[in-house]
Amino acid sequence: MKELLKNLDKAFENKIRLGIMSALVVNDFLDFNTLKDLLDVTDGNLASHLKSLEKKKYIYYEKEFLNRKPNTKYFATESGTEAFKKHINAIEQLLGK
């Protein structure tokens, strides 16, 4: 059991961070507002979770201007996708699947 728990990623213990990652691994990219609508969270809340995932290098972003408004696109990194898969595998093992 302890072995199994070790494989769980602390970064994904939080529901919102888990949600961000779930959405980013199945999409090429998502912008800030799409993520916000999808997860139903406030700007500040989402921004802080994005920052912590960014620090772990699980995601990266690109800024661009759409009709002169700043638009931030978020992407999952390779190591982020890898970590996410590992986390899911760990959960499935814990559940005995």
Binding site: K15, A23, V26, L30, D37, L38, L39, I88, I91, L95
Partner: protein
Amino acid sequence: MKEKYLADLKDIKDIMDRSSRFISLSGRSGIAAGIIALVGAYLAYTIVFANQDYMNYHSSVLTGGSLSQLLLIAVGTLVLAVGTGIYFTTQKTKKQKQKIWDHQTKRLLLNLLIPLATGGILCCMLLLKGYVGLVAPLTLIFYGLALVNASKYTLKEVRSLGLLEILLGLLSVQFIGYGLIFWAFGFGMLHIVYGTVMEFKYKP
């Protein structure tokens, strides 16, 4: 603790579906499109096999006039079917509080339209060259290919509907005189059956 992880897995799946697939495709739009297709096929049938006597059943000659009438029916059917499809689907997105025009819908439509437009252009070219018989099978085949291609971005059942349409299209090349019947079955009956199943399966 197990419950927490089960809930996590459910959330993950839900977010993946909501963020990557257009799930508001309405079953009702399938039923409506099917009924419209059946009416269109019936109208076409009366034109194709007009003024024939009983003995010459299923041999028909298309004149220029009846061909343009057929085209008119085809365009009318298409516009009505797509129109009701958009209407019912918009209604459903409103109910589910989703956006109708976001990058999911764009991606879905683009992937649907690439094979569909190819088939449409090909059919027009064949029509101009006089290969009328091939048009019904080819519309089924290209529509099926379009559905298979787009199914990655919407409800997964769309894929099996697409495969069935392709199969029907191929069969219909083999029995080319019955093109209209295959067409009515593929665009009419299959849509109605599929729409009904979806309507019950994804009841809100």
